[in-house]
């Protein structure tokens, strides 16, 4: 069974380490916050100027002056802090944030990522994505293995305009967990019941299969 979006988030949450500051992108990455492993302290950074982001506010207590990078009303946890956009991106560029999780339209086997622009379609902008991918030490991409037309999103080379070059370290899809290594996507884990052949079929880029590939544990 391929994973659903919630399960992708659950698998990514296993990557979280104690005392990390983490920036979660919009979409599947946001769901990761719901699955922080027990005993692990994490602070979420929202690039519009908030550290220690908490859950959505209790109905009736929402505050127009407290939103996340997706413009949703949120809360701030005890010990959280607020700052301006220049300081926020100083945290990001200065590599004070240990992990960035974001979505992608395409990832190339050299770690290039494309997630902001489809030529000929309305371009909304890159927001903070280019700053995040250019600087983060550890970038995990959360996405479906193939697009809506069934074409692979794990490619030899991105066809869409790039967001960043050579930056992605790990990818968690509905089919597999993969790591970017020197000559391609190294298959680390497969979704429960998904075969290596199925993953190979859905991967256009060079897939490196080294020995027995374990199933993910959720």
């Amino acid at each position: 069974m391929a994973l659903d979006k919630t399960q992708i988030a659950q698998r990514i949450a296993q990557e979280l380490q104690h005392n990390w500051y983490v920036n979660l992108g919009i979409g599947i990455p946001t769901l990761v916050a719901n699955y922080i492993p027990k005993g692990i302290d994490i602070e979420f950074q929202s690039e519009n100027g908030l550290l220690g982001m908490g859950p959505f506010p209790i109905e009736g207590t929402e505050d127009a002056d407290l939103i996340n990078a997706g413009k949703q009303t949120v809360t701030i946890l005890q010990g959280g802090s607020l700052f301006d956009s220049a300081m926020s991106f100083a945290m990001i560029r200065g590599q004070h944030v240990q992990l960035t999780v974001l979505g992608a339209m395409e990832v190339a086997q050299n770690g290039d990522i494309a997630n902001w622009k489809i030529p000929g379609k309305m371009v909304k902008g890159m927001g903070g994505a280019m700053d995040l991918v250019a600087s983060a030490d550890n970038i995990i991409v959360a996405m479906m293995h193939t697009n809506k037309r069934g074409a692979s999103k794990l490619l030899k080379k991105c066809s869409l305009p790039l967001t960043g070059v050579g930056c992605v370290k790990k990818i968690v899809t509905n089919l597999a967990v993969l790591e970017i290594v020197e000559d391609g996507f190294k298959l680390l884990e497969r979704a429960l019941g998904v075969t290596v052949a199925e993953i190979q079929n859905a991967t256009e880029g060079n897939l490196i299969i080294d020995g027995e590939i374990p199933e993910m544990k959720l």
Binding site: E47, D63, L66, I67, Q72, S85, M130
Partner: protein, 233 residues
């Protein structure tokens, strides 16, 4: 203390003309200078270049200026929430310069801090870096980005005093402090204007030196773009 107070928004926007370049604070609809935007609509100035992280929604924020076709060029990082914006952009009526959010923030900061340009890794190897100088530092590639040169900066603060000192609230701070530093004339509208001495100097986010005009804003709507809540149970 130097007194920065102007009577009202009309006086605050004196000298604003068509064809000028402005900075406008805010992230989404959070922390936008509502009163100043309203006055720009009233003044019917056009051919404006607006530096602002977003472009408002159809009927609020910078969307109000777009409706009246007062904006010639937007410099933003993300503009997705506005149908009129999309229409004008696709028809070529509106020029749009999309730049990474951190680069936008730092370009604003550099403007106010007397730094003409700086290197950032954001956008290296992408179309954002096309035509720009690049350079390697410590085995990593960086792109040279430049400061802006806006005639006016319009910012919104929570509290301010007559000396122009500002305190922001929550994530409404966002781009407002750097933009306050960057304007040749910085206009600050505040929810609560107090006498000099009433704000704790330890708590001031932007010292009054950066602010040329300050006024008590009125009728704040503070619209929420995405109301997300946890149900009472």
């Amino acid at each position: 203390m130097i007194n920065k107070v102007v009577k009202n928004v009309e006086e605050a926007l004196k000298g604003v003309e068509s064809g000028m370049e402005f900075m406008l604070g805010g992230f989404g609809l959070c922390g936008i200078p509502e009163n100043c935007i309203g006055q720009l609509v009233k003044l019917e100035v056009n051919d404006l270049t607006c530096i602002s992280n977003n472009a408002g929604v159809d009927d609020f924020g910078l969307g109000l200026l777009l409706q009246k076709r007062q904006i010639k060029k937007m410099i933003s990082s993300y503009v997705g929430e506005n149908d009129e914006f999309e229409r004008q952009m696709l028809s070529g009526e509106l020029e749009v310069d999309l730049i990474p959010q951190g680069t936008l923030a730092e370009r604003c900061r550099a403007t106010g801090a007397g730094i003409p340009a700086f290197y950032t890794p954001a956008g290296y190897g992408t179309e954002v870096a096309e035509g720009k100088e690049t350079r390697k530092f410590n085995d990593k590639m960086y792109v040279l980005e430049h400061a802006f040169n806006p005639q006016f900066a319009f910012v919104k603060a929570w509290k301010g005093d007559t000396a122009g000192n500002l305190i922001f609230k929550g994530t409404a701070r966002n781009f407002n402090p750097m933009m306050a530093m960057a304007g040749k004339i910085t206009v600050a509208e505040v929810e609560e204007l107090v006498e000099a001495g009433e704000l704790d100097p330890n708590q001031i986010h932007i010292p009054g030196i950066f602010v040329q005009r300050i006024f008590q804003g009125t009728a704040y709507e503070k619209r929420i773009e995405q109301r997300t809540v946890t149900p009472k149970s």
